[in-house]
């Protein structure tokens, strides 16, 4: 045991305080999500295009809302944005984290599994704040005049995030990264088209009674109630809680960290 002692590496171990670790993890994941071109497209660009295109084209394609199109569509596009982040982006990112050994690497760091999950939720909320800001800005520029129930909006956002995040993690935990990528995008497109997220369930005729039980329909309706009529949609929120619990149970059963 020879050699100079410089003291550079003298042990001084210790975990950072949990809030600091969770914040660091959330900031890191949010940064990576926004740095990735495809994810940014999914998070901000596509919802903005859907909103502008929907409002411009509502008359032409004969969508007859009893309210101004921008008032009906903006809450739905906010729901779409939450779905894209909490479900699609989260599933894809987590799938590749498993593939690249990131989760394994963090597994021996001071950050616990719970801390990691909290960090992921934090990252989703950070990205969602940005999405809400951009989409609301676009909506307001097009004459959106919402009647806001702040509590209802926050409940919808948090429960919608929980429901989709549970499903996203369940997907990422049970498939390979490439399969997760494909499946997460496919589900996103199907729900965008037929999931009553952007358009109200009333636009789907009888089928609307079915899709309102989907997490997409429930989140879309809850957002519309909160921003069109300043109301809390308790039934839709209960549906989201149901999906969140289901997703969490499924994730706990199937998820493997590697």
């Amino acid at each position: 045991m020879t050699g100079p002692t410089t003291g550079t590496f003298t042990p001084m171990p210790g975990a950072a305080p949990l809030p600091r670790m969770v914040l660091a993890q959330a900031g890191m994941e949010a940064r990576l999500m926004l740095r990735n071109g495809e994810q940014l497209l999914l998070a901000v660009v596509i919802p903005a295009i859907v909103l502008v295109g929907g409002v411009q084209g509502a008359d032409r394609i004969g969508l007859d809302f009893s309210r101004p199109a921008v008032d009906v569509l903006t809450p739905g596009v906010l729901a779409l944005a939450i779905m894209s982040t909490a479900f699609t982006s989260l599933a894809i990112a987590t799938g590749f984290e498993r593939r690249y050994g990131v989760i394994k690497r963090l597994g021996t760091s001071p950050l616990s599994r719970t801390g990691l999950l909290a960090g992921k939720v934090g990252a989703l909320l950070l990205v969602e704040v940005l999405q809400v800001a951009v989409i609301s800005g676009v909506g307001l520029a097009m004459g959106w005049s919402p009647r806001v129930d702040v509590v209802a909006v926050l409940l919808s956002l948090v429960l919608g995030t929980a429901a989709f995040a549970g499903l996203g993690l369940a997907l990422a935990g049970s498939l390979r990264a490439e399969a997760t990528l494909a499946a997460a995008n496919l589900v996103y497109l199907l729900l965008l088209a037929g999931g009553a997220v952007v358009l109200p369930t009333s636009a789907y005729g009888d089928f609307g009674e079915v899709v309102r039980w989907l997490p997409s329909g429930a989140l879309g309706n809850a957002m519309r109630d909160a921003l069109l009529d300043s109301a809390v949609a308790w039934r839709e929120l209960a549906v989201l809680v149901g999906w969140a619990v289901g997703g969490a149970v499924l994730t706990a059963r199937t998820f493997t960290w590697e």
């Binding site: 045991m1 050699g3 100079p4 410089t6 171990p13 950072a16 590749f96 050994g101 394994k104 001071p110």
Partner: protein, 312 residues
């Protein structure tokens, strides 16, 4: 001054994957503030053993303690105190090298200065490069930096210099030696004999999930030529065992039967000799109870003369 609690103690560890036995009753100890090498051929059970120490796997039988703690049940207490260098991967593909290092630093209470560490480890010129565009050697260096940044007491490094060019390899060795001088315990797996010989205070050689020998490099190589191997088995050897073992090891070897369950092998020996002896035991259907290496000393000569019959 030797710290009382071993850095690592593995006791009777058994790990199976399906019906494949990866670790077969392994016991070993790593003293604090040493560099200890776990040496063995591919598939010997090194990585499985290390991953059990790191808390990735729960022992199926036996026990594992790191700094006196259970790596699975006491992970919250243990993980801040250890550093782990994985064999590959472990970073987001789009993360920049320094960004990853800073992130890991933020998870610790008293991290090293990341710029100083990056300079020491030679990450200075690729700090802004995304992980997926780092060369294999740069990824290795980042992995080592990530293991060290939290100022751990014990670091586990899995094949630390695989894929490094000779100059970088030397620098890495110097760094690992500096860690030891500063009071860090280094547990490394390698299949490079020279790496183990150059760095390690203690070497544990594993083959087929079993410990086949332990010793300092000097003890294990003893001038690179003549050593003795004392083999004790659990039940008596079959007839003709000394001849058959000599055939397995080569003509320069002398095999003496000391009693019904022990043999003394004298001759040129290295890590492959031990692997051969262990394999021979398998073929003969005998279970080694102990396999010890030593310098041929007065005691061996005495035993040769009194206890055993030399063959030939």
């Amino acid at each position: 001054m030797v710290p009382a609690i071993p850095a690592v103690s593995v006791d009777g560890l058994v790990m199976r994957y399906g019906d494949k036995l990866a670790v077969d009753g392994l016991s070993l100890t790593v003293e604090q503030q040493t560099i200890t090498a776990v040496l063995g051929p591919n598939g010997a059970g090194k990585t499985t053993t290390l991953e059990t120490c790191e808390g990735y796997r729960t022992p199926q039988q036996g026990s594992v303690r790191v700094l006196g703690l259970d790596p699975v049940r006491q992970r919250t207490e243990l993980h801040p105190r250890i550093g782990v260098m994985l064999q590959g991967g472990g970073a987001w593909s789009g993360v920049r090298a320094m960004e990853m290092l800073r992130h890991m630093a933020k998870l610790h209470a008293h991290p090293l200065d990341v710029d100083v560490l990056a300079e020491r480890i030679g990450l200075g010129d690729c700090g802004r490069t995304p992980y997926r565009r780092l060369s294999g050697g740069q990824q290795q260096r980042l992995a080592l930096a990530l293991a060290l940044v939290g100022r751990p007491e014990v670091v586990f490094v899995d094949e630390p210099t695989a894929g490094m060019d000779p100059a970088v390899r030397r620098t890495t060795w110097e760094l690992l030696e500096e860690l030891r001088s500063d009071g860090v315990t280094v547990v490394l797996t390698t299949h490079y004999m020279d790496e183990a010989e150059h760095l390690a205070d203690m070497i544990h050689i594993i083959d087929r999930g079993r410990l086949v020998a332990s010793g300092t490099p000097l003890e294990l190589t003893r001038g690179g030529t003549v050593t003795t191997i004392r083999l004790v088995v659990t039940q008596p050897f079959p007839a003709g065992a000394p001849d058959s073992l000599r055939e397995a090891l080569g003509p320069e070897t002398v095999v003496a039967q000391l009693d019904a369950v022990s043999l003394l092998v004298t001759g040129p020996a290295d890590a492959s000799t031990l692997a051969k002896v262990s394999r021979w035991c398998d073929e003969q259907g005998v279970l080694p109870e102990s396999l010890t290496l030593g310098q041929r000393n007065l005691e061996d000569v005495f035993l040769d003369l009194t206890g055993g019959e030399l063959t030939p």
